[in-house]
């Protein structure tokens, strides 16, 4: 037993202090350094800072911001209220559409976001699903059925906190049974002078989990003549005896109508909107499939190393996602 005691103490780097209750004000700082498959050295950097204020057991404030050399933006700034089994958010938050939160996207072995979740992938013209909205969100349900409903401004700028025009409704219904979960998502924006014509998107996602294994996937489709559709399926596996190692395999496909993000790279944080950063070549249609193998190694509780290899279709949407890429992530809590 002594040996295992030592293993437990040595291999698990515990937090600095014991706590029965968490400090009311706490936060997290993350730094991402990545290599582009087509270049040498570190090309991508991202810093993420989040502050949480637990004002009471049922009320908290969340604020987070992300920085890159070229682009900074507010991530989420909201007040969260828990009431019975319901949760309400007020402010700026990640759009409640599918696997949307920071944890789902950034804490995986994959360096690049799924193409359909790239910042530059427009499911309908000028609208991606990787987005921060402003408004009100309600989340609740119980047992096998959970819901999310939001009325928001889906055209928030990078530094806006409060909505200007709540013209968009987003809904999610999630059903779970045993190890399986399936979700349905809908997005509808009304036509108006400020943010343009009406838009609709739909999505379906699933997740299956078992000890050591997780499989998840999403399919998203933009409704209308200029809609883009795409999917990804991820497999995560933690080998026996390697508690700090995670293996991943991803297959993803996209059928894009227009505006490929030709300038985007493999990095989650550089998959920028092509309409903002310019893309000269605008083919009217492109489709392809990409395969990615990944390894995530928790070096310590503060440092994680990801290694990816991508292969598949050579279309604008997969630029920077083929070949080898490496990312070092650091995480510090306070």
């Amino acid at each position: 037993m002594c040996f295992w005691l030592l293993c437990a103490c040595t291999l698990v780097e515990a937090q600095g202090s014991y706590s029965d209750t968490q400090n009311p004000v706490h936060g997290i700082f993350e730094q991402y350094l990545g290599t582009d498959p087509s270049h040498r050295g570190v090309q991508g950097t991202l810093s993420f800072l989040e502050l949480d204020g637990d004002l009471s057991p049922s009320f908290k404030l969340v604020g987070s911001v992300a920085f890159t050399p070229d682009w900074d933006w507010l991530e989420e700034e909201y007040a969260q209220l828990n009431w019975k089994s319901n949760l309400f958010k007020f402010g700026r938050f990640r759009s409640p559409f599918g696997f949307n939160n920071w944890s789902e996207m950034y804490y995986t072995p994959f360096i690049g976001l799924p193409i359909i979740r790239g910042y530059g992938t427009e499911i309908v013209p000028n609208r991606s699903i990787n987005r921060q909205d402003g408004g009100v969100e309600a989340e609740g349900g119980g047992g096998a059925l959970q819901y999310q409903l939001a009325v928001v401004d889906s055209a928030m700028s990078d530094w806006e906190v409060t909505p200007r025009q709540m013209d968009t409704a987003i809904g999610r219904l999630q059903v779970s049974g045993g190890q399986f979960m399936i979700g349905l998502d809908g997005f509808a924006k009304e036509s108006n002078h400020r943010s343009g014509p009406g838009e609709q998107m739909a999505g379906i996602d699933f997740r299956w989990t078992a000890p050591r294994v997780q499989v998840r996937g999403e399919f998203v489709k933009g409704i209308g003549n200029q809609g883009t559709s795409g999917y990804y399926v991820d497999l995560f596996y933690r080998p026996p005896g390697l508690a700090r190692t995670q293996l991943g395999a991803r297959v993803q496909g996209i059928d894009a109508y227009n505006k490929p993000s030709a300038d985007s790279t493999s990095f989650k944080y550089y998959q920028t909107a092509p309409n903002e950063y310019g893309s000269e070549a605008i083919p009217s249609h492109s489709a392809g499939t990409l395969y990615t193998l990944a390894v995530r190694q928790f070096l310590t509780s503060n440092f994680t190393l990801d290694v990816n290899y991508g292969m598949g279709a050579n279309i604008p949407q997969t630029n920077g996602l083929s070949g080898w890429s490496v990312q070092l992530q650091s995480t510090f809590r306070f």
């Binding site: 202090s17 997290i28 979960m181 509780s301 809590r333």
Partner: protein
């Protein structure tokens, strides 16, 4: 190997042959062994606890260190808005993985063997907790100053054991009867 010094003060406190065992645990560097787990073996066996919980809130396991008795079922509610996973790999006594689950869901695991179980989340590498599984009703977790007290211990011979998350442990035979103090020097295993 570094060692820590455990100072044990045993005080007789009642006429019904029950005493409070208290003292202070000090690391070899001189600082207090905060939140060390202290327990007494050699007395009656324990019963499973009726309620035990390790919460997941704010991307933290709360509490960071728990002590439970053999047979206790621990619930792991997810009170974050993100998915979490709970697994233990570095324990010879108990290895488990209860999968990923969403906000509002609770999963449970029963700990049937004594030992120290390091609990982790496969999504968030900075999350960790320890669950110390023992087979005695007499235990406590020292405070941030390394001070502890185990109350209402029947008179008799016991083995006092100490576990600290730095990896240092110690055990020493003690007699619980009258006022007394015991010095224990612990070491890395």
């Amino acid at each position: 190997m570094k060692s820590i010094l455990v100072l044990v003060l045993a005080a007789s406190a009642s006429a019904s042959f029950a005493a409070d065992v208290h003292g202070k645990i000090v690391l070899s560097q001189g600082r207090a062994a905060s939140h060390a787990v202290v327990y007494l073996e050699g007395g009656p066996k324990s019963r499973p606890l009726a309620n035990a919980m390790v919460d997941q809130r704010g991307r933290t396991f709360i509490p960071h260190i728990s002590v439970i008795t053999i047979g206790t079922t621990v619930s792991f509610p997810n009170n974050d808005t993100i998915f979490h996973n709970v697994f233990a790999e570095y324990s010879k006594e108990d290895r488990f993985d209860i999968g990923m689950y969403a906000r509002g869901a609770t999963k449970r695991h029963t700990f049937s063997k004594p030992g120290v179980v390091a609990v982790m989340c496969s999504v968030h590498p900075d999350m960790s907790a320890y669950i110390v599984v023992i087979d005695t009703p007499y235990y406590t977790v020292a405070d941030s100053n390394g001070e502890y007290a185990i109350k209402n211990v029947p008179a008799g011979s016991y083995t006092l054991k100490v576990w600290h998350e730095s990896g240092q442990v110690e055990s020493k035979r003690i007699e619980v009867a009258d006022n007394r103090s015991v010095d224990v020097k612990t070491h890395h295993t």
